[in-house]
Amino acid sequence: MKQNSSQISKFLFIAAAIAVVIAIVFYMKGGIELKQIGFEDAKEIALEEDKPIILYFYSRYNQVSKQLNATFMKDDSVTQKLNSEFVFAVESVNNSEEREAMEEKFGLEGIPAYYFYNPEGKLMLKTHGNNSIQVFMAAISREFIPEILKFKSYETVIKNSRDSGKYPFVLVISSPRNSQFDNIFNRLYPMFEKEENFQYLVDNYEPTILFSNNDDDLAIIKMLNSKVDNQIDIINTTVNGENITRLDGNYYFVLTGDEDVRKFREIVYPKEDKFDLEKDVKSGQMTEEQGEE
């Protein structure tokens, strides 16, 4: 049987070549450039308006960033939420010089990346890679997230607690640094799904939050760990015994893991009222010895 030369294949090869050339021209132009403010300007506004900062790193040549900028970042409901609840800042990183500068300044580890800061400009949480998009989406869709990101830094809370007489409430969120499947904010949802939970916490304690994927927070967690016989499990999310500990004359509520979420609800949601230790602490009946146990 005779072998033919295909007319269709010639036409298709020419069409493919033309399409590739034009596509490369489009590619080299890069994706959409966002017009938001940079981080330094955002810090001033955040302090003035008492709003947390979301800092978004992207590259105009990264496919995921391009998709995000063309769709999600142009969505009215997203931009409305970002502008009302947060100060949204962007840093565009398009070449190796810019990459080195951002790595040095922010410890940038990948693109896309979302960093979350409290109004004082203290880094709360850094996420990068595709998973960071899920964290970002959770941040702008859950009402309690902007409020949590307004929590003062650990140092400020310790200082304030001595002035106000309220106990510090240290919430430790453990998460591996490069976790691809762990949406940290969704894990907080069971704790704060009821508004009164949050309000009770703010009214009665000096709350702060430590994320183990943040180097500064990790140092504090390690310091706390050294004082509580390594009760805080940084990598896993298992329960580590007693959750209330007395250190340096203050009570620290250190919570990690799913079981602790239940206990957390019992502590901060008074109507559930199942956690006896909570009553003891509030009424000052808990002794230093009990705490150290």
């Binding site: 049987m1 298709l12 069409a15 399409a19 596509a23 489009f26 890069g30 999600f72």
Partner: protein, 257 residues
Amino acid sequence: MRNLMTLVEVEFRRTWSRPFVLITLGVTLLTFLVIFLVQNFFSILSESQMTFKASIVLKSFMTFFSTVAALVITTGIIKFDIKNHWFRTILTRPVSRDEALLAKITSAFGGVILISILTCILPVIFMEVIAPDFMTFDIGNFLAVFLVYLLNVLGLILIATWFSCWAGGFFNLILVLVWLFVNNVVSGVIPPIIWDNRLLLIIVDFFYPEALADLAEQISGGSFSWELLLWGLATIAGFGGLAFWHFNKIKIDHGSD
């Protein structure tokens, strides 16, 4: 043209054997049943103010059903018909190789369109009927995503067809699956390392050509990219060209004997 239509009809009848029809209808009914059984879940999501665009739900369905349909239909699409002398029989008639292959690809694509309508379009419409608050339905956006994702599946069919010109038996399916798997590894591992090098990123982004799948996602998000459309069309034309070129070069005379 008449030859082509006749050939497409014959190919379609060969693919849609009674067991194949029964399996397709079974999968369709199962999809409807699952949607019906989990309708309360949609209501819970609606109550927690989580609504989805119908086009995004459609794309999720197509990512599974249309892709699996294309892989099943194109398994050994060329090699099996050389082995059972089908091509030899056809090509003894006044039919060119281009026509024979075009009929085969058209039939395969038609089959995928039919399966996509049954297992993706109709179930999503069913979801809209039983849980209207769960999705927002924009018919133009919905159809655009359907069309673009079908073109993405056409690219997959052409890739599998070209592989089947030189890979024996169902080995073309294995090659496609391995390629898809390696692509997942490459696209997950490499970009975090070289994300500031735009030339290398081209290679990673298009290591496995799925620009039209990305375009479908972008369209469902209310945007459009000429770059992705052109990459996608280049995929279809490039692998189509390879399939037709290779099909005209292979020896068809010898079958299983």
